[in-house]
C-alpha cells in the first residue's frame, strides 16, 4: 500500500475495485465504514453485489474482466470535465499529452458496452473520484488475478497520477495483501524477480553484492523463473523442489495440471504444519512449528514490520522453518547457514536489504515501523512517493482493453469468478481445524442469480456439475442476488469442491499471475 491503514479514515472519496474487503480484510473495512460515517463517498466496482456494493454511493456491477475499459473511460471523463490536477501532472509525471490523446476514444459509451453498466454510472464514478480531495483507491486480487492484471494496476495508477492522489495523506493506491506475510515474503526476496529489499535481479551491483555475500560468484544476473513456469517444467528441466508452507495443489489454478507436475518430480520436500494435499505428494514431509509457537517477524499490507512471538511450545518434534531449511543447506555444504536464532536470520536480512537497513531484531521488538527504514534513526515511511517516485517521474501508460483469456461461448456460456469468504481462510488447513467455523460455513456452494437458477432449472440446494475446458466439480447451487445474471461464484476453500479444477485459463504475460477471477463454464444438473 502506498498509504498506511490509518489513512483510511481520511479521504473524502474511496474507490474500491476488485476487493471484497468486508470478507477478506474485515478489520480494514471497519476503517472504511468509519470514513463513510464521517461523510466520505464510496465507489465500488465489482461484478458481485457484495456487502461493499450495498454500502456504496456509486456501484458499478461491471462484467468480470472489464476493469481496464471502465478505468480508461473514467480517465476520459476526468480529463473532459477539467478535473485533472495539472499542477501535479506538470511537477511529477511524464507522458500526459500522449495519454490525453490516447484517452479521447475511450468514452463512457464505449466502456458501457464492454462493462455492461450504464454510461451515466461510469460518469458518476469518474466525477466522484475526480473531485475527491483526496481520493483513495483500494484493490485486491479482483484487479491482479487477470491476464491483464498489470494493465489493471497501471490503469489505476493513471487515475491517481492525473488527479494528484499519490504521495498525499489519505490518498494513494492501496493493494490489500491477502496473507499475513505475503508482503514480507517479497521483502525477503523470496520471489524470482527480486533480491531482498525489492531490488531487481537484473541490477548488476545487487547481483555482485549478493554473489559476494552468498559466496556464489556464478549467481545469475537476471534469468527469473516464476512458479507457473517452474510447475510447467516439473519432470522436464525441474527435478527437485522444496515447498515451504504452501498448499499448491488446492490454491493454484488448474489443479489437475498442478498435481501432475508435482508427481513428475524426482524429489519433493514439503515443510508444513499439516498433512496438506500437497504434502501428500512429497517424498519427505518436515513438520514446522506453527504461528503462536514461532518467534519471528512479519510485514503487513501497509509495509509495517511487526514481531511475532511464541506463546506455546512446538507441537511434537516440529521445528521452525528457518532451522529446517538451514539444516538441509548445511548438509549440501551451502555456506552461511550457521544461524542460531531467528534474530540471526532477521539481522542478516536487514544487513542486506536497503529497505530494512535501519531495522534489526531488537528495534522490531520495540517498535513497529513502515518500510523503507534506511537508517537506524529513520522513523519509517508511512506514505510512499511524497516528494518523488522511485523512478523519477510517474509515467502515464497508454493501455487498451483486452478480452479475458476465455470468453463465454455456446459451449461454456457462463462466467465463473472465484474468491474467498469471511469465515474460511484459503484452503481451510487452519480455519477448517478451528472449532465452531463449521457452524457458520460447513460447505462450499455455487452462488447463482435467482433468475438464472430458475432459467437453468435449479432450486436452492440442488447439485450442479460445473465444467470448464480444464475440468469439472460437483457443487451445491445457492440462489442469491449477490451474483449478477450470467456470472456464478465459488470460493476455492473446500478441498472436496476443488474449484481450481476449473480455473487457469490464462496468465498475465508479465507477472504470470493466473486469471483466477475469470473463466468460462457450463452448468448442468449433477447426476447422482
Amino acid at each position: 500500500m502506498s498509504n498506511p491503514l490509518a489513512d483510511m479514515a481520511k479521504p473524502d472519496v474511496i474507490f474500491c475495485i476488485g476487493t471484497n474487503m468486508t470478507e477478506c480484510h474485515p478489520v480494514a473495512a471497519t476503517g472504511l465504514k468509519k470514513a463513510m460515517a464521517r461523510g466520505a463517498k464510496l465507489i465500488v466496482a465489482d461484478p458481485r453485489r457484495i456487502r461493499l456494493a450495498e454500502l456504496a454511493d456509486v456501484y458499478l456491477p461491471i462484467r468480470v474482466g472489464s476493469d481496464v475499459a471502465l478505468l480508461l473511460a473514467m480517465a476520459h471523463v476526468i480529463d473532459r470535465e477539467g478535473l485533472a490536477n495539472h499542477e501535479f501532472i506538470e511537477a511529477r509525471t511524464a507522458g500526459w499529452e500522449e495519454f490525453r490523446q490516447h484517452l479521447k476514444a475511450f468514452t463512457p459509451e464505449w466502456a458501457a458496452k464492454i462493462c455492461e453498466v450504464p454510461a451515466k454510472d461510469i460518469e458518476s464514478a469518474a466525477l466522484c473520484y475526480g473531485r475527491g480531495k483526496p481520493g483513495a483507491i483500494y484493490y485486491t486480487l479482483g484487479i491482479t488475478e487477470h491476464i491483464c492484471g498489470v494493465d489493471n494496476v497501471q490503469s489505476l495508477c493513471n487515475l491517481a497520477l492525473m488527479t494528484g492522489n499519490l504521495g498525499v495523506e489519505g490518498g494513494g493506491i492501496n493493494p490489500m495483501r491477502g496473507q499475513n506475510n505475503i508482503q514480507g515474503c517479497g521483502d525477503c526476496g523470496a520471489e524470482t524477480f527480486v533480491f531482498p529489499g525489492s531490488v531487481p535481479i537484473t541490477d548488476e551491483a545487487a547481483r555482485d553484492k549478493f554473489a559476494a555475500a552468498y559466496h556464489r560468484p556464478d549467481l545469475d544476473l537476471g534469468h527469473a523463473m516464476t512458479k507457473v513456469t517452474g510447475l510447467q517444467e516439473c519432470g522436464k528441466s525441474i527435478r527437485a523442489m522444496l515447498i515451504d508452507g504452501e498448499n499448491t495443489v488446492i490454491s493454484d489454478p488448474d489443479k489437475n495440471h498442478c498435481e501432475h507436475a508435482l508427481k513428475a518430480l524426482d524429489h519433493l520436500v514439503v515443510i508444513d504444519i499439516f498433512m496438506t494435499e500437497t504434502a501428500q505428494l512429497a517424498h519427505v514431509v518436515l513438520p514446522a512449528t506453527a504461528w503462536a509457537e514461532t518467534d519471528g517477524v512479519a510485514c503487513n499490507t501497509e509495509r509495517r514490520v511487526q514481531r511475532l512471538r511464541a506463546a506455546v511450545p512446538p507441537a511434537g518434534d516440529s521445528r521452525p522453518d528457518w532451522w529446517i531449511i538451514a539444516q538441509i543447506a548445511k548438509r549440501l555444504g551451502i555456506p552461511g547457514f550457521d544461524f542460531q536464532s531467528p534474530a540471526d536470520v532477521f539481522n542478516e536480512l536487514c544487513s542486506l536489504s536497503p529497505t530494512y537497513g535501519g531495522l534489526d531484531w531488537d528495534r522490531v521488538s520495540r517498535e513497529s515501523l513502515n518500510w523503507p527504514v534506511p537508517t537506524k534513526d529513520h522513523p519509517g515511511t508511512p506514505i510512499l512517493h511524497v516528494d518523488n517516485f522511485t523512478n523519477g517521474r510517474g509515467k502515464f501508460m497508454r493501455l487498451g482493453y483486452r478480452d479475458p483469456a476465455e470468453v463465454v461461448d455456446a459451449q461454456f456460456p457462463v462466467w465463473l469468478t472465484t474468491g474467498r469468504r469471511l469465515q474460511s481462510y484459503h484452503t481451510r488447513t487452519q480455519t477448517g481445524r478451528s472449532s465452531g467455523i463449521d457452524y457458520l460455513l460447513s460447505e462450499e456452494s455455487l452462488e447463482v442469480n435467482p433468475e438464472d437458477a430458475v432459467a437453468w432449472g435449479f432450486q436452492d440446494g440442488d447439485w450442479a456439475t460445473v465444467s470448464s475446458r480444464r475440468g469439472s466439480v460437483k457443487i451445491k447451487v445457492r440462489a442469491t442476488d449477490r451474483s449478477p445474471r450470467g456470472t456464478v461464484f465459488a470460493s476455492f476453500s473446500f478441498a472436496d469442491v476443488p474449484v481450481n479444477n476449473l480455473t487457469g485459463s490464462g496468465y498475465d504475460p508479465a507477472t504470470h499471475t493466473a486469471e483466477l477471477k475469470v473463466c468460462a463454464v457450463r452448468i448442468e444438473r449433477a447426476t447422482n
Binding site: 491503514l5 468486508t22 474485515p26 478489520v27 465504514k33 468509519k34 491477502g178 496473507q179 499475513n180 506475510n181 525477503c188 526476496g189 523470496a190 520471489e191 531482498p196 549478493f210 552468498y214 545469475d220 534469468h223 512458479k227 517452474g230 528441466s237 525441474i238 527435478r239 515451504d244 508452507g245 524426482d266 508444513d272 498433512m275 519427505v284 514431509v285 518436515l286 513438520p287 506453527a290 509457537e293 517477524v297 512479519a298 503487513n300 501497509e302 509495517r304 511487526q306 506463546a311 506455546v312 516440529s318 528457518w322 529446517i324 538441509i328 543447506a329 548438509r331 536470520v345 536480512l349 487452519q430 477448517g432 478451528s434 472449532s435 465452531g436 467455523i437 504470470h512 499471475t513 493466473a514
Partner: protein
Amino acid sequence: MTEHSMNATAMERKLTMTLDGQPVGFSEGETIYQVAQRAQKNVPTLCYDERLEAFGACRLCVVEVEGVKAPVASCTTKVTPGMIVRSGSPTIEKYRKTLLELVVSENREVDVNPLRGFASQELTTLVDRYGARTGRFKGKKSGTSNKSDDNPFILRDYDLCISCYRCVRVCAEQEGDYAISMMNRGFSTQITTEFNGRLKDSDCTFCGQCVQTCPTGALADKKALRAADLPGEVTKTRTICPYCGVGCSVDLLTKGDRLVGVQPAMDGPANGGALCIKGQFAFDFVQHEDRLKKPLLRQADGSFKETDWDTALDIAAAGFRRALEQHGRRSIYGIASGRAPHEAAYSMQKFIRAGFGTHYIDNCSRA
C-alpha cells in the same frame, strides 16, 4: 502527540481549567474525562470505551463543576476555559459507591472468569475499589440470559448485563454492522438482535468486539471459557494475527502450555482493538491433533512413515544433491510461504540463491 506536547500546545493557546485545585491545559473539544485521564485522576467508568462516542449511561464518571448544581457526567461534558472541576470529592466518591451497589444488585455474580473477555474484569475491579459488595439493594434483577442461541463463539449471559450499551455501540460504531440492539426499558431492558433471535440469523459477523468490550462478562468468549477449569493463571503474549495482510495485533491467552484464546490488542497499530471472526476465534488449529509432529518419509506403497530428524534431513538433502549432480543447478526450485515469517522466506531464497546460484524461487503471490 505526547502528553507533554499536548499540554504545552494547549497552554500556548491559553486553554486552561482547574482540576482538583491544579491548573491544567486542554485542547478544544476535549471532555472533562479525557483531561482527567491525562492527569491520572483514575475516574471510574463502566460505559466508556475510548474507541467509541461517549455515551453517559453509567454515571460513574460524574464530577463536580463549580457553578453547576448537580454532578455532571465527565465523559460527555466538554471542558470550557476556566472551568473548575473536582474529580473525586468525598460526596462524589460516596455517590459512585452507591451507584455501584445498585449496579451489582442486579447481577447474578460479580466475579467472572477473565477468559470471558478483554474488559470483563472492569465491574469486579470497581466494586472492590469502592467496597461495594454490601448487598444493600438486593432485589429485582434485569437482563435474561439467552440460553437458546447455539452459536459456538459468543455466550449471551445477559443476567450479568448492566445496560451500558457498549456492545450495541461497538457493533454500530466500530464494525458498522448494527447487528445488535436493545429492547424494552427499565428492568426489562434486554440486549438482543432483530426479531430477538440467534446471532447467526442476524447481521452478526462474529468479530467478537461485543465480547471484548463488555465490562461484566455478560457477553463472553465461549471458546476461551472451555479452558476455565484448566489449572493456572492466564498469561498474555503479544503477537500478530496469522490470517490476512492487515496485521492485527493480538494477545494470545495461554494457560500453561495450552493456547486457550485470543484477545485483540487495543493499542494495535493496524487494528486499534478490532478483529474479525478468523483472528478472534480461529486459533485452535495450532494445537489440533492433526498437526505434524515427526518428519515423515514416503514409502514404496505410498504410505508415510515417521522418522527422526537426522534421517529425514539426510534424505531431503540427498535428493537435492542427486538432482544437482545429474541435472545441474537449474533443476531445483523453491516455493516460499506467504504465511510463514520473514526468517522462513529469507532462508528459502538464500537456500536457492546461495545453493544453486539461480533465482528459481517464488511464492504464492501469483495465485
